[in-house]
């Protein structure tokens, strides 16, 4: 048989459909049904990558998603470039462009392979001990080089243009895995009427059945037939015999079963769908890949679909992954898992070599040897590490004339870009390697250390794992969710037992789902494992001469972790498996240790002289295999990432040149730069103009985003008295008051003007950002502490549009528009509220000011907001009315020393700190926060208190957040005595102003303090926080 050729009758690929693809620019062909890996092997391409750290030449190790080496990048166009895909999962399509990774300039001649020569200097954890000197070299030399060298693949540079959707599904039984166990479970569950979802990561259902030899066994006549019949019990076929299921060949049973499931309207069949995570309460995340296998994806089709499935019961039938063996030089191209080689031959018709050495601790490798022998591969030797190999498969191999040699280990291999020789040695009854080596030329090595049940999802569901000494693996124990495991994923391997296992699990799951209304608990313990004859397993490193660790004996292929690294970790004192994992990075690559964890554990347990269960497993985390970020994002990207909240005047503001800022989810006009012949105003100029306009004439401002809560009921006053610090009993109907809200720990939480609009009705306003939090706090007390109060709360934030009209001309602007309200100074004093109409709309009019000027806030139902704004704007033209934004609003209030919660407060500021002690109701027995205010520390003299700051050079504006020091020119570390909370240039005062919290601030009036900056200390004088109109006369116009 030719090296790397295919046998005509072999495989499930469609040889009538030739597919053209490129790998590293080289044009090759394959068949429909090939993966990139199988097509490469058929083309005799074994070198597919360079390892992560040492840049060693690497080939294909496995046939499924557990593949650690053959990571490729697939490119459709500049925007659709996906690195780190496993070639064993990349489905071939016409025109596929794939490239290997982590090599330069080429795979066969890679500069990075110098690392292999340097390997003694770069063991595990070397980066914790190097790159430290000289310190300056870190930024300029080490970091850039490390960044360039790090990682396996290259990132795409353009945004992902494809669509990714999501779906929610509910079902009675979710079956994960569609091999014989999963199919059997789904059949059983569906036949009892359950609603079933069954998924599998592969393009077609069948699992291990897909690796059976194709075609009817009647066409083969094989010398070993009669003997095989006599010996095989319920094993999966032997030699080129496909097993029968229900009297038909396995492939026929498979096709019929898939058809049955597809035709059932209560069954959802999902291929190319990986169950990647198990979440609480039986929610499982599935990632369905819709178009990556197509040559021409439909432009409207989503690329992937993420399912969130809430299942009453889950059956895990995830199979098992074959375990490699650990020996020096076990990573050369051409060294692969025995089952993988069998899969490439039987399923894809791609024979991976011509002269094979088999090294095994497990009976299943003999099955692979027989199938490869049948395909024309010369089996040079089957070396078995065990002292005896007398199971039926080993017997069948001997019968077929294949040389079997027990008590044999591998001590080395050679071959630069492909394995060409192995060195074997005998092992005595104590497990020690004896003298003398056998040197065997070969171009293919099949290895098998048994199987590791895939328990990832079970473990994610918080099920307990139990160590099974017979199979040297962890199997599912007590479940924590309503989940059952069936088949190889719980250590059952023989086909008849697997099919039965699936059947039992499927029907039990369906029954439990029917009984779900009775409130059943998590699934029962596993069925007792049937008494399979053990097929053999190994965990750890194969024995080497003199008990040495051996060089380049790989445990984790993808992260280049060898036995020497694990030994180093234990020598350096790491004992916990979590530490050893992180120090060596074993199991931390994108394959999450699927082919390495158990061998690492086996090796470490010997080093530490503990049993494997004593060493323990690290935590399994989702995703089972990598899932694209876009799949999780779904539609929540770009403009759909967050909702946008706009005020009723948004469009008007946009048309009139507003620059917007984000305040939470709101868009608020920040400032309104004007354009002229000389260009557009910058922010500084615009804000200065807006502030002066308000103080000189009149300005208008959209305050709709502030929170509003209506507090209504017989006990409204009682409730308000208990919640806010102020006394509310004396507040007359038609009047308002500045309210301060604390948490029970005594710190300021929110503030706002509160109006009493009726005897039993308060209109409470909050900060924009605090709206939801204040209502939540109120509801918390009302529902859970004072449920007997007759009061209810309604959010009316979005119901009212609020237009602030501020400035000496504000009354004149509004008088002509307002109906039904006497707006004179006598009838409407400062802090009063009245109902009326404006422009045909119902109106709540507040006389209130956040600017210190005469001012009003016009509240109309939100739908009238835009029209009323325009009417006010029109009426204000004769007074040169100026729309102003949030920046001007901030400056104007700072000039008056008005705080902004979240700016002057940070959750640690008391009312007295902020100069708001006057607001506290003196006679109230209790309010939220009062008890805490009584703690002595809450009135300590050195607490940070609100003050104003004026810079010595009035044109210097401090940075908000600057720290404040007692004296100038101090050496670090300096203890700050306060910080700057707000800072602006004040146009009306012609100088900079700032608000700050300073330790014992009120006792420091007139003192000079210092603000350190990168270019020197700035001197500031402590003043009152009210910079402008300290008597407050301008409030009256």
């Amino acid at each position: 048989m030719k090296h790397g050729s295919s046998t005509e009758a072999l495989g499930r690929v469609d040889r009538t459909r030739t597919i053209r693809f490129t790998f590293d620019g080289r044009e090759l062909t394959g068949f429909a049904g090939d993966t990139l890996a199988s097509a490469l092997l058929r083309n005799g391409v074994h070198l597919v990558g360079r390892s992560f750290k040492y840049h060693r030449p690497r080939g294909i190790l496995a046939a499924g998603s557990e593949e650690p080496n053959a990571l490729v990048a697939v490119r459709r166009d500049d925007a659709r470039y996906t690195p780190n895909l496993r070639a064993t999962q990349v489905e071939l399509y016409d025109g596929l462009e794939a490239d290997s990774q982590n090599r330069w300039p080429s795979l066969s001649w890679d500069v990075g392979s110098i690392n292999n020569v340097l390997s003694p200097f770069i063991p595990a954890g070397f980066y914790y001990k190097t790159f430290m000197w000289p310190r300056s070299a870190w930024k300029s030399l080490y970091e850039p080089r490390i960044r360039a060298a790090a990682g396996l693949g290259k990132s795409p540079t353009l945004a992902d243009p494809d669509r990714y959707t999501n779906r929610f599904a509910h079902c009675d039984v979710l079956v994960v895995g569609a091999g014989p166990a999963g199919l059997s479970a789904a059949l059983a569950a569906a036949s009892s009427g359950a609603k079933v979802v069954i998924c599998d990561e592969q393009p077609e259902f069948g699992g291990s059945l897909l690796s059976e030899p194709a075609g009817s066994h009647a066409t083969h006549s094989h010398a070993a037939d009669s003997h095989a019949d006599a010996h095989a019990t319920d094993s999966l076929g032997s030699g080129s015999h496909a097993a029968d299921i229900d009297g038909v060949p396995a492939s026929t049973w498979l096709a019929r079963t898939v058809e049955t499931l597809k035709r059932n309207p209560r069954v959802t069949v999902l291929t190319r769908t990986t169950a990647f995570g198990y979440f609480p309460h039986n929610m499982v995340g599935l990632n369905e890949r819709l178009t990556d296998h197509l040559a021409q994806p439909h432009p409207e089709s989503p690329r992937e679909r993420q399912w969130q499935v809430r299942a009453k019961e889950v059956v895990l039938a995830a199979g098992a992954i074959e375990r490699p063996l650990v020996f020096p030089g076990n990573d050369r191209p051409g060294i692969m898992l025995a089952g993988a080689a069998r899969t490439f031959v039987n399923r894809y018709g791609a024979v991976p070599g011509s002269r094979a050495v088999v090294i095994t601790a497990c009976d299943e490798a003999y099955r692979a040897a027989l199938d490869l022998h049948e395909a024309g591969v010369f089996i040079a030797i089957i070396a078995d590490i065990r002292a005896k190999a007398d199971g039926p498969l080993a017997e069948a191999a001997r019968h077929a004339g294949l040389p079997v040699q027990t008590a044999t280990t591998i001590v080395g291999t050679s071959g630069r870009l492909r394995v060409d020789t192995v060195r074997l040695a005998r092992v005595d009854e104590h497990g020690h390697v004896t003298d003398g080596e056998q040197i065997m030329p070969c171009d293919l090595v099949l290895m098998s250390g048994g199987f590791t049940p895939t328990v990832h999802l079970f473990s994610q569901s918080r099920g307990k794992l139990v160590w099974d000494e017979k199979t040297l693996s962890f199997v599912p124990g007590q479940a924590a969710e309503r989940v059952r495991s069936a088949g190889a994923c719980r250590g059952v391997y023989a086909l008849a037992a697997v099919l039965n296992d699936g059947n039992v699990a499927g029907s039990a799951a369906a029954a439990a789902a029917r009984n779900a209304a009775a409130g059943s608990g998590p699934a029962g313990g596993p069925n007792s494992t049937p008494a399979d004859p053990p097929i053999g397993a190994f965990a750890g490193a194969l024995p080497q001469p003199g008990g040495a660790t051996g060089s380049m004996a790989f445990v984790d292929w993808q992260n280049d972790v060898t036995t020497k690294d694990l030994a180093l970790a234990t020598r350096e004192g790491f004992r916990s498996v979590e530490h050893i994992k992180r120090y060596t990075t074993t199991g931390m690559a994108t394959d999450q240790g699927k082919t390495s964890n158990l061998n690492a554990l086996g090796f470490v347990s010997r080093e530490l002289d503990k049993t494997i269960p004593e060493v323990g497993l690290t935590t399994f985390r989702m995703p089972y295999t990598p899932v694209s970020f876009a799949s999780f994002a779904g539609f929540a990207r770009g403009s759909l990432f967050d909702p946008i909240r706009r005020t009723p005047t948004h469009d008007w503001a946009a048309r009139n040149g507003a620059v917007f800022e984000d305040v939470g989810l709101w868009k608020r006009a920040h400032y309104f730069p004007r354009s002229s012949a000389s260009g557009r105003e910058d922010m500084h100029t615009a804000v200065a103009r807006e502030c002066l306009a308000v103080r000189k004439s009149v300005g208008m401002f959209d305050a709709s985003t502030l929170g509003k809560i209506e507090v209504v009921g017989k006990d409204a006053v009682t409730f308000m008295n208990r919640m806010y610090v102020n006394g509310w009993t004396s507040l007359a109907v038609g009047r308002s008051r500045y309210g301060v809200l604390l948490r029970d720990d005594g710190f300021v939480y929110d503030d706002g003007v509160v109006a009493r609009t009726a005897e039993d009705r308060f209109h409470v306003t909050t900060t924009t950002g605090g709206a939801a939090g204040v209502l939540r706090l109120m509801e918390d007390y009302l529902q859970t502490e004072w449920p007997n109060l007759d009061v209810w709360l309604t959010s009316i934030s979005e119901q009212w549009s609020v237009i602030a009209v501020q400035g000496p001309n504000s009354r004149r602007v509004l008088e002509g528009l307002v109906e039904g309200v006497d707006m004179s100074a006598q009838a409407m004093p400062h802090m009063s509220v009245a109902r009326g109409r404006i422009g045909g709309a119902p109106m709540l009019l507040f006389r209130v000011s956040f600017t210190g000027e005469l001012g009003f806030e016009v509240n109309v139902p939100a739908d009238f907001g835009q029209a009323v704004w325009e009417a006010i704007y029109a009426a204000g033209q004769q007074y040169d009315i100026t729309p102003y934004g949030t920046e001007a609003m901030h400056v104007l209030r700072a000039e008056k020393g008005y705080i902004i919660v979240g700016q002057e407060t940070d959750g640690t500021v008391t009312p007295d700190d902020a100069g708001l002690g006057w607001a506290i109701g003196k006679t109230k027995p209790d309010f939220v926060g009062k008890r805490s205010l009584q703690r002595p520390s809450m009135s300590a003299e050195n607490r940070k208190q609100l003050v104003g700051l004026l810079t010595a050079d009035p044109q210097v504006v401090l940075d908000e957040g600057s720290q404040i020091m007692q004296g100038p020119g101090q050496q670090a570390p300096v203890r700050p005595i306060g910080h700057v909370t707000s800072s602006y240039h004040s146009a009306v005062l012609g100088k900079s102003i700032a608000l700050a919290l300073v330790s014992g601030g009120r006792a420091r009036m007139g003192e000079t303090l210092y603000v350190p900056t990168g270019s020197g200390d700035i001197a500031v004088k402590v003043t009152s926080p009210v910079f402008y109109d300290p008597e407050g006369a301008r409030l009256n116009g």
């Binding site: 059997s184 059949l187 059983a188 036949s191 009892s192 009427g193 095989a228 319920d234 097993a243 029968d244 299921i245 229900d246 009297g247 979440f279 609480p280 309460h281 039986n282 929610m283 809430r310 918080r462 924590a480 309503r482 059952r484 008849a496 099919l499 039965n500 699936g502 059947n503 039992v504 699990a505 029907s507 039990a508 369906a510 029954a511 439990a512 009984n515 009775a518 409130g519 059943s520 608990g521 998590p522 699934a523 029962g524 313990g525 069925n527 029970d744 939540r776 509801e779 918390d780 007390y781 529902q783 859970t784 502490e785 449920p787 027995p925 209790d926 009062k930 008890r931 805490s932 703690r935």
Partner: protein, 145 residues
Amino acid sequence: MLLIECPYCGKRPELEFSHAGQAHIARAQNPAEVSVQEWTDFLYMRDNTKGVHAERWRHTHGCARYFNALRDTTTDHFLATYKAGEQRPEGVGAGAGVGTGTGTGASSGASAGRGASGTTGSPLGAGAGADPGAGSNPGAPKVGL
């Protein structure tokens, strides 16, 4: 994502709720009479239970009510949910649920008596073996050679 049974709205996904801390921490009627230590405990001291924990949730994107729940912090299973103001249910976690809310399952204490038959551990219903129930189970596919 947790599935939480709101006493008012039924089972809804976790996204609709906000967690609201430990349950049954009552604010004193007269805080002025409470000692500093008691007040500090009220503000800041909370249990860190490994096991069944009484906590509050609010159905923020739903009925907006606060309610209580018993959740096993090791498994995230809800043993009960009950309205604000109601007493913590007695004996929950030993298979004797009180009728206010059921959550998704009993704690490990109710797991006795399972064995190889694959029963679900529910105190109310016990399947035995491959319970065919309402449908027919044709039995496991048979392997031959």
